[in-house]
Symmetry: C2
Subunit: 486 residues, 2 copies
């Protein structure tokens, strides 16, 4: 990695984003249109996300399973809204094993249809319910305009699919998962979302209700970071999935589905990154602390390397993910640039003077206001306080992100032109009343390229509920959050 | 799960296999030809395999990454042997996003071509080498005759791809991985393989050398359970992947690739299963100990449930994966059958008498010869010895499997008819001399449906090397292992 600077965020946030994703080696363009390669640093972050989420899913009673990549076209067509939503984006296998297939197979864009079909085989009575299954998989949606992590033809995700005996239980589960997502985004990615219900126009194709996590990026655009769908009996009816109830009646099951994807990596980038590169929250960082030995002579090299390995061993023992960068062909400055660009939370420097003094220099990827660039700490203190410092850094990133989101949330806006000015000049979240008329959404889309991100959950709602629709026509049926979005 | 018995192994091993995979809920047939659904119990075993292997890969310096599912047809065609080997099995995407594609894309059957292409972008000089990357992914090979886990159109696997500056380093890496696989199979799956070099006819399409792990199943047929390929400069030349050497010369990199798949789950089934169902080695078992409360009255139910939860908590604290089966609509006997079928290593029973005595009944999935079916142990002893018992059980499964493999290995066979009789009547591994003439392999395939599984590594070779070829014609160039295989 060279020292060339990234495009500054202020010059072009989009160019900065591409620069940092490529040059922090998170991902690369592949020779296949719209598909990306996730490089080890990016995949390591995704693995940490997977581990964190998977533990949360298991703690809430879910098991993992695996369903087929290829789905018969006729399955996708079973649910009318579903096929309408997904058909334009399908990749289709027409030939296999040297022959044309009798029925084309689609590369899964999502798996409701095939999973519900299997649930139909496994469910007889209420005793077989609920089924709480999650799948980690790749999916494919043929997008015309792709962006690394944010919108790619192929992406990695988890898709949860549950089946329940009652509507109430399924609805509660949709909510439960929304809260798992929110918890994960706040406490792992330090990317605090606003949660709420999607308007009809933004609902998942085939769902009764879609709940979403909407996070605000540093360029003041919203990122839909995760969704949880209450599917009612729509897919159960399409696939004929019934069960015998406790009262002996034959009933359709109620289902939910929910997912987050590698898009979250893009969200992390745009929540914390700066002109020096990525900032990776400690819980997600494949390497939390990098140790750089500094030396001129061979003797110094040997002595600093020994100390670096010793410190590495002690930090590992304390559960810190740590790495010594002992590449001999790079000078320390080049290493600093590289690890800053990659967003490693902390760097420890071990030089000859540190050996003399028994100290270590600690450089933090983000320097708290009013503090010095580096801290010079006694070795033991540097080591023993490291886990706590990482936790504090994680918390600080979250607090900063909440503060930024709130500073860019405009509440109580009642005038169409004010909303437009805010969205065009600053961006951010604009809270207004809405009559529920889709024509208002259409107009906002045309005039200011903004959409209703969600009807915010009570926790995020403005204490004084709006009374009039932002359009100026009609009463407010809901409070909604508007934003330009990814 | 009903109490119907499985097809006995002695009646039909193939039917027993299908019965147990389906009825232990490892997997199910999907509506998509040749693709299976991996159910939570089977996927949980695969997850434990992944974790074990992944730790070994990381300990040997590898990182994970992710490459595209779809590969341009022209890439597959770059390496002549490679395309010849894989073309008949390809699934091909011809349409996407509502249009016919200009160039068809194949669903990856393996990823050498696209990964080497990317390495070409990332490698400039010897300082960028070695690259040690692994990918966990799904792949697709359109098979005509499929069997759950053993041969499916889609399967899950890991594929490692490394690039090196010298042939020696790449060859050593091929070997290193073979040993990682062997270690994993022996100590996690308790499925001890014979390792060795493949003959030319069984080499990976495009490789210079293929090393394999060959395990012997309970029906005395061999299962190729993992392969590690030295690819020479074949793929580097096909994709033009060069680097500047330390001496400043432009050279092609040397590459390796290696993989194991969900086939390992099938291997586990056929290594340890019996007429009662699966036997899952403790390291792979999603649940290592199941606790079944036994009660008649409500009072007993409440008391045994409390004790079961208490024991569960203590075992969890000791790192044991434990589960209480408190389903109220099933009697204990039905639960025993189910967990035996699923192969859970140990079962603890908590009944009213146990509460009185402060004891627990321990039932082991495989009862050591001469021991009683159940052990009645003081509660503390049952809990405190559990981790040790699980380790011992793991070791015993391995030792049994080694003993079975050795008992069914026929060494020093020098006569063609003797080999045929052994392979037709008993099966197993037959060690003979071989001239290296492919015509001998052809004849064995036709006459006894057997193949050269490998040229065994020194550790597995017969101390007294054979001198004549099993065909009766010519000298033995190698000792080889013959078997009928999956």
């Amino acid at each position: 990695m060279s020292r060339e600077t990234l495009t500054p965020q202020s010059e072009s946030f989009a160019d900065w984003y591409n620069d940092v994703v490529l040059r922090a080696e998170l991902a690369d363009y592949s020779p296949v249109r719209g598909s990306m390669v996730i490089r080890p640093w990016g995949y390591g972050i995704w693995e940490n996300m997977q581990r964190g989420l998977d533990d949360m899913f298991k703690a809430t009673g879910h098991e993992n399973a695996y369903f087929p990549l290829l789905i018969p076209m006729s399955f996708i067509e079973k649910e009318a809204e579903h096929v309408e939503g997904f058909k334009p984006e399908l990749a289709i296998v027409t030939h296999a094993g040297g022959k044309e297939l009798e029925e084309p197979l689609v590369v899964r864009p999502t798996s409701e249809t095939v999973i519900l079909e299997m649930y139909g085989k496994w469910i007889q009575s209420y005793r077989d319910l609920p089924i709480l299954i999650n799948q980690w998989a790749n999916v494919m949606r043929w997008e015309m305009r792709t962006r690394l992590f944010l919108r790619t033809a192929e992406f990695l995700w988890q898709e949860g699919h549950t089946a329940h005996a009652t509507a109430e239980e399924a609805q509660a589960h949709t909510r439960l998962i929304l809260n798992v997502y929110r918890d994960f985004m706040e406490n792992w990615i330090a990317m605090p979302p606003v949660t709420g219900l999607k308007s009809d126009s933004e609902r998942f194709a085939g769902a009764v209700e879609t709940y979403a996590c909407e996070a605000l990026m540093k360029d003041n655009r919203a990122l839909q970071a995760g969704t949880s769908h209450f599917l009612g009996q729509n897919f159960a009816k399409a696939s004929g999935v019934t069960f015998q109830s406790e009262e002996g009646r034959e009933e359709y099951v109620w289902s939910t589905s929910w997912g987050v994807s590698t898009r979250l990596v893009g969200g992390m980038v745009m929540t914390h990154g700066d002109d020096a590169g990525l900032v990776v929250p400690p819980r997600l960082a494949p390497t939390q602390v990098v140790i750089v030995p500094i030396y001129k002579t061979d003797e110094e090299r040997s002595a600093t390397a020994t100390k670096a390995r010793e410190v590495e061993g002690r930090l590992k023992g304390l559960g810190v993910r740590v790495k010594v960068d002992d590449r001999d062909h790079m000078n320390p400055g080049a290493k600093y640039y590289e690890w800053e660009r990659k967003g490693v939370p902390f760097r420890l420097e071990v030089g000859p003077k540190d050996l003399e003094k028994g100290s270590l220099a600690l450089a933090r990827r983000v320097i708290p206001e009013g503090e010095k660039r580096k801290l010079f700490l006694p070795e033991n203190e540097a080591i023993e306080t490291m886990a706590g410092r990482l936790e504090a850094f994680q918390t600080r990133l979250k607090e900063q992100a909440i503060a930024r989101r709130e500073a860019n949330s405009h509440r109580g806006v009642t005038d169409w032109n004010t909303m437009r000015e805010i969205l065009e000049e600053e961006g951010g979240f604009v809270y207004t009343g809405w009559s529920g008329d889709p024509a208002v959404e259409e107009r906002a889309k045309e005039e200011m390229k903004a959409t209703v991100r969600c009807i915010p959950d009570p926790e995020f709602a403005t204490p004084e509920a709006p009374t009039t629709c932002i359009s100026g026509e009609g009463e407010a049926k809901y409070e909604v959050v508007w934003a330009k979005s990814y």
